[in-house]
């Protein structure tokens, strides 16, 4: 009975959504001419990014520079998720000592372990490559950071003894977060706006270009990698049911 009601409700919602999106034609050019004096926001980004920011990937320019405050907020959300999960699943000291920490792990045969040992540096390098080249190719801090975290995941589940150095993680996380903000404050001092960019360095489509944008994205990459590894580490350490 409840299911029937829900399905009727869903049909109504679906109808309204379809009705709305029929009026929004797919594939229509809503950007308009990008060379107008006052283009739309998207048009402005497309026509000015290469000149004013010297960044080839427009998405990176938007994420890090035009809408940099969003990205700061996004990094904060991940940070808060790590903090929140830690506090939700927190165990007091005495509980911690009593519990045998046994992580979820693959059947640890030699093949798995040596495979992980070979794969881990490759994955980590790939991730770092992705976030260093964020301003040139698709990808950036978030994608690269996630890839690095996947590498750590592989190590965590294939080596029982592999422990992330908690102290070092805290340092990297804090320093990456702080360097994001301080790069922003650099802009506040030199350009009088928070996150203001200094794009004079380098030329388009070379590794050193885009001013502070690649630096910020690298900081984001480190922070995301450590935060996601932290989340996985906390979740993997839960004592499973018998």
């Amino acid at each position: 009975m409840k299911k029937v009601l829900v399905i009727i409700l869903l049909v109504i919602i679906g109808y309204f959504l379809a009705e709305t999106f029929i009026n929004i034609p797919f594939g229509e050019n809503r950007i308009g001419d990008i060379n107008l004096e006052k283009p739309t926001a998207a048009g402005y980004y497309l026509s000015n990014t290469t000149e004013k920011s010297k960044v080839a990937n427009v998405i990176t320019a938007i994420v890090v520079n035009y809408r940099g405050l969003d990205t700061l907020g996004e990094v904060t959300v991940l940070f808060l998720a790590t903090t929140g999960i830690a506090s939700i699943l927190y165990r007091r000291k005495e509980e911690e000592e009593n519990a045998e920490t046994e992580r979820l792990s693959l059947p640890s045969s030699n093949i798995v372990r040596s495979g992980a040992r070979v794969l881990f540096p490759t994955i980590a390098l790939l991730g770092i490559y992705v976030f260093i080249h964020g301003h040139l190719t698709p990808g950036g801090g978030f994608q690269g950071g996630t890839i690095v975290a996947t590498g750590f995941l592989l190590m965590l589940i294939s080596y029982k003894g592999f422990n992330t150095n908690h102290n070092r993680m805290v340092w990297i996380e804090s320093l990456a977060g702080l360097s994001f903000i301080f790069l922003g404050i650099w802009g506040l001092i030199s350009d009088n706006t928070f996150l203001g960019n200094i794009p004079e360095v380098g030329k388009l489509n070379s590794l050193i270009s885009g001013g502070l944008i690649p630096l910020i994205y690298i900081a984001v990459g480190f922070k995301v990698a450590v935060e996601l590894t932290g989340i996985l580490d906390i979740l993997l350490k839960i004592k499973p049911k018998k």
Binding site: K3, N29, A42, Y45, I59, V63, A81, I88, L204, L235
Partner: protein, 131 residues
């Protein structure tokens, strides 16, 4: 391969429209169905992530421009500014995906804690609060 698909997108426009919008709205409805009818907390979180996936697809869908290329001025595309897809929804959906992951992770950790206390992950057996 992307260029080939662009030509096809021009040719069979209606079908593609239906494909993208229809799939997106379909995903949202399926997710909503799971949220509303399922009793298992893990299933509800799965529904939530499917619902989010639908919205993300809608975002990318409305940013698409017929015949456009990806908004990256890589070598050879320096003057392609006028035939690129809309970069703004893509930037927004990037943010939304990461935030969605954070929310899912928090939700799942709550599920684990609820399971520890009640030894069940079903709403109707977790009785202390009204649902």
């Amino acid at each position: 391969m992307q260029e080939e698909f662009n030509e096809i997108f021009l040719k069979y426009h209606e079908i593609i429209t239906l494909g993208v919008y229809g799939t997106a709205i379909g995903l949202m409805l399926i997710g909503l169905y799971a949220i509303l009818t399922k009793k298992n907390l893990v299933k509800i979180v799965i529904g939530l992530s499917i619902f989010d996936a639908g919205i993300h697809l809608l975002f990318v869908g409305i940013g698409y421009v017929k015949g456009g290329t990806a908004p990256i001025f890589s070598p050879g595309y320096e003057n392609a500014g006028n035939r690129m897809v809309d970069p703004v929804p893509q930037a927004l959906v990037l943010t939304a995906i990461v935030i969605g992951f954070a929310v899912t992770a928090v939700a799942l950790s709550l599920v684990i804690r609820l399971y520890k206390h009640h030894n069940t992950a079903k709403i109707d057996q977790i009785k202390s609060l009204k649902w």
